[in-house]
Symmetry: C2
Subunit: 337 residues, 2 copies
Amino acid sequence: MAQNDPATLDSVAARAGVSRQTVSNVLRHPTRVADATRDRVLDAIRESGYRPSLPARQLATRRAHAIAVRAERQQDGISGLVLDAFYHGLAEAGQHNGLRVLLYPQPEDEAAEVATIDELVHTGAADAVVLTATSADDERPAHLRDNGTTFCAFGRPWGHDDAPHDWVDVDGAVGTSLAVRHLLDSGRRSIAYLGWPGDGAEPSTGSDRRRGWLEVVGHAALGAPVEAHSLNDAAAAQAAVAELLGRPDAPDAIVCASDTLALGAHRAALAAAGAGAPVTVVGFDATPVAAALGLASVAQPIDQVAHLCIDLLTGRFETPDRPARGLLVPPVLRLPS
Amino acid sequence: MAQNDPATLDSVAARAGVSRQTVSNVLRHPTRVADATRDRVLDAIRESGYRPSLPARQLATRRAHAIAVRAERQQDGISGLVLDAFYHGLAEAGQHNGLRVLLYPQPEDEAAEVATIDELVHTGAADAVVLTATSADDERPAHLRDNGTTFCAFGRPWGHDDAPHDWVDVDGAVGTSLAVRHLLDSGRRSIAYLGWPGDGAEPSTGSDRRRGWLEVVGHAALGAPVEAHSLNDAAAAQAAVAELLGRPDAPDAIVCASDTLALGAHRAALAAAGAGAPVTVVGFDATPVAAALGLASVAQPIDQVAHLCIDLLTGRFETPDRPARGLLVPPVLRLPS
């Protein structure tokens, strides 16, 4: 267990035969120090194994060298995996950029979340936030801007296209268009959509996913598009699809806005098919549930989104008054193995 | 965007009519300050909205007020959800105890992980680590102890029962015994086990889960116990169970060491059953996949584990030389809805 005392600014200074201030200058303002002196100090740092303390560095640079992200309370759990991958991507990209990733537990509501973030940033625990699960009536971005908080959203500023903040999102319309094209290639001719209530009424994740389906189905000119809507709950989705499959214009395939909806749709399809082949269901998010059921599903490139969020934030730290930037990443269709 | 300048130690001191040192004493050593002075300073802090800077507090207390946990690279994804819940629980329990939660990306191997943790702790970014995914041949605990790093493991010190560190784990044997009892109550009489290779050979998560099955099956005296083993992969599990179900002593139920194994077992059971009823499969981890397949599964109380890890760490911070403590938490059996 015995260890040498950890090296300090003072012991490095003594080893190099310079003042403590000179060591500090080498670390923070190396150009102010003569080459020969700088080399001697750097040698002493290496030999002693000195590592500047993070709190000291934070005080000196007035930067936390950390970003914060919300640890989500569990919902139905099916989409949970997307966040696991997001956390890993942020931690990895953060590490490459000298940024630590802090988790804060999901607060009760948006106001409490803004207060939590404000606390983290103004006490110097984090320099910026990655905002998740944005929506059209989201009040967090405006409050964060008012507080002068640096942030990047995973999710578009739905309905606020002129919003002056950085964001990264996955192009949901591309995802559902890939699903429809795959079904057309597989010989399906009546491809319905199962979305969430209110899809299409205003800009939202759901509207975006519905749009990709509608565009390709409309372009293929295969008759009036059929759709159903359900809360993001497997039992509700199953009931909605059971009704859809009982109609005279029952589809032969269903593109769903989530894997939770796809699970319900798949159950309804199995029940309606009896001994025959069920209608084909395609999900969204490529969760293990879709894989376990043998369903194709649209996969969000979550790792890429995480890396881009970190890129935008590090760019923002370097150039705080840079114009806001939004990046849309295309997903892929993952077929069952 | 306009805001008043944030309050500082100096502005609080001026408002209270005391020295900067007195404000600092009120914050860090309140008993050293006369009651009347302390009240005046606390009023000034409240009125000014002063929040001590985290880096300053870290330097003053020589504590990071943060713990670190690994952001897992994805494996098969099915068990991913358990970690989502763990992260949320840590962030929530940490917040209640004034501890932030830092994520570090899963390093290449154990040596790299120990180096990462060492860096986090010795640069003052974290005070301690919550270690995940422990195993019998895990070299991390011994190295962390040698480095003098405070940590709590989620997972037992398999085969090192005298290990002097804190840990929390879920009692897997209780989990599988609940599964077997449920199956006996449901009229099953030949209950097999599907585990991982090497289960039972040395202390491990798998051996522990197998033991719970074996004890109850043995106690019920229903003939020679039948078991199969497979890597944690659905296709491999399906092949192992297909073989099992073709034997003369084929079981009428299978308790599995994971939901990934349960997925494979379920597929084999469906294939073997044809139009009849498939053998009953019970999983472990209560993931969305088990729920989607309609399988019972053992649920780990992850939120409780996270809170207990934080409890052990905060207790350790207060009493660094307290004896090591291990806590075993019983799981529950979650039936399909």
